[in-house]
């Protein structure tokens, strides 16, 4: 496949003039119409999402949105929900989650763009592209992930590529797994499944034999600062700088999918954590999703993954899923018995900055994002 090059984009002003024209606005009205949502806008945002999201979200309610975005309260949420107004009507939403990242001793501030939603009749107006371009112009750097064909196209051509986030699955009960992947074999193979499931359990027990000096896992009620840095934080990896307060709110107080968290400890000292939540597949079978993790070493990460598999078995889940970006973390998952999802392109990710030097630096570094920086809070 030929290497992708970033096309030269018209500058923000040129882009704004075209998009404003398509929207029947003046070039000045377009950026002026984009404002952080206030508490008074909450019901408007909720209605806009209800009317225009492709997938109905039963859990999308005021408490979730207030948890996610500030809506005028500087102490709430993780960033701003921006609303683009045209003649008093909302025409687009853009979520911005504030990010601080550290790379090779330097710290950078930026945003993760998420929850971008454009009114369907304006899809050909270029508004989604302009909103992404606006983010890049107004923030130190922008992290983006493609969720649908249009946003994947924008991430691919407007952002510098990062490794995609790929789903890895550890099957526990193979029945729903086989039915999904090989539908024709589902019924025929049913009598064999109990035997295969026992073989899987034995295989996991062998793979998860504790090594000398392995970290232990301790249930965690709340995170506390200082959080231990990942073991490879000093290398070429970009590490998202989280605080205990952020993880408490993001993982434990999430009204949509509260997580269970465990601390990884060695010799009485915290060396990392893992957090997971239970969900269900399309057939209603329970699944365990590993949402966030941090580990001092690949061995510690393996301990965390193995614990998730044991927990899933206790809860009678059909599988454990984790979405991985970093090659080294994928290796750990494979060693722990996870399988890479077939025929999956993954969550396309990209990074961009108006500072080209910073953009190149961030795009060349290692990233190991978890679901903490994703907006897919549902399953």
């Amino acid at each position: 496949m030929p290497a992708r090059t970033l096309p030269a984009l018209p500058d923000l002003a040129v882009l704004g003039r075209l998009v404003a024209r398509n929207l029947g606005m003046t070039p000045d009205e377009l950026p002026q119409g984009l404002r952080p949502a206030s508490a008074a806008d909450l019901s408007v945002v909720l209605a806009f999402r209800r009317d225009h999201l492709h997938v109905p979200m039963r859990w999308d309610d005021p408490s979730y949105l207030r948890w996610r975005y500030r809506f005028g309260d500087p102490d709430a949420g993780f960033g701003e929900m921006m609303v683009l107004w045209r003649q008093g009507e909302p025409v687009a939403l853009l979520g911005l989650e504030t990010l601080r990242c550290r790379h090779a001793g330097s710290e950078f501030g930026g945003v993760r763009g998420m929850d971008l939603l454009v009114r369907p009749d304006l899809h050909e107006s270029g508004l989604g592209t302009w909103l992404n371009r606006w983010m890049i112009e107004h923030h130190g750097f922008v992290l983006a992930m493609g969720a649908n064909a249009n946003s994947i196209g924008i991430v691919r051509r407007l952002f510098r590529p990062l490794p995609a986030r790929l789903t890895f699955t550890h099957p526990i009960d193979l029945r729903p797994f086989v039915a999904r992947r090989w539908p024709r074999w589902g019924a025929a193979s049913a009598p064999l499944m109990p035997v295969v499931n026992i073989a899987l359990q034995w295989r996991h027990a062998m793979l998860a034999l504790p090594a000398a000096g392995a970290a232990e896992l301790v249930p965690l009620t709340r995170f506390a600062d200082p959080l231990p840095a990942p073991g490879d934080a000093g290398g070429d990896r970009v590490v998202v700088q989280n605080t205990a307060d952020h993880l408490n709110r993001r993982l434990l107080d999430n009204p949509r999918r509260p997580c269970r968290a465990l601390a990884l400890r060695r010799a009485g000292r915290a060396v990392g954590h893992v957090a997971w939540a239970e969900g269900a597949d399309a057939g209603g079978h329970p699944e365990l999703h590993i949402v966030d993790w941090s580990a001092a070493s690949p061995q510690d990460l393996g301990v965390a993954f193995d614990a998730a598999v044991r927990e899933a078995r206790t809860r009678r889940c059909s599988c454990v899923r984790v979405v991985l970006q970093d090659a080294a973390e994928r290796e750990v998952a494979l060693r722990s018995g996870f399988l890479a999802s077939a025929d999956e392109e993954g969550r396309i990710a990209g990074v961009q900055s108006r500072d080209d030097v910073l953009a190149v630096r961030l795009a060349s570094a290692r990233w190991a994002l978890t679901d903490v920086t994703d907006d897919a809070d549902g399953f």
């Binding site: 075209l18 050909e124 592209t129 249009n150």
Partner: protein, 73 residues
């Protein structure tokens, strides 16, 4: 110009090529085409006109209408 706007190669485009067969002919590709026509030729391609284009031949017809493309004699 079209290949550049849609992030593909000229070989991948012919008049019969359908929009759905060009991954880069999405909302961003359409905007790039609008920008190119506007910046380079001062021609306005509206969102409505852009939405109605289903094949490369529709774009070529638009260019002919604006005398940006001449039929071979």
């Amino acid at each position: 110009m079209l290949a550049e706007c849609f992030g593909t190669t000229a070989d991948a485009l012919s008049p019969d090529t359908a929009r759905d067969a060009v991954p880069g002919w999405d909302s961003m590709g359409a905007l790039m085409l609008m920008a190119e026509l506007d910046e380079r030729f001062g021609i306005e391609l509206s969102a409505e006109n852009s939405r109605s284009m289903r094949r490369v031949s529709d774009v070529l017809a638009f260019l002919r209408t604006h005398q940006l493309l001449l039929d071979a004699a």
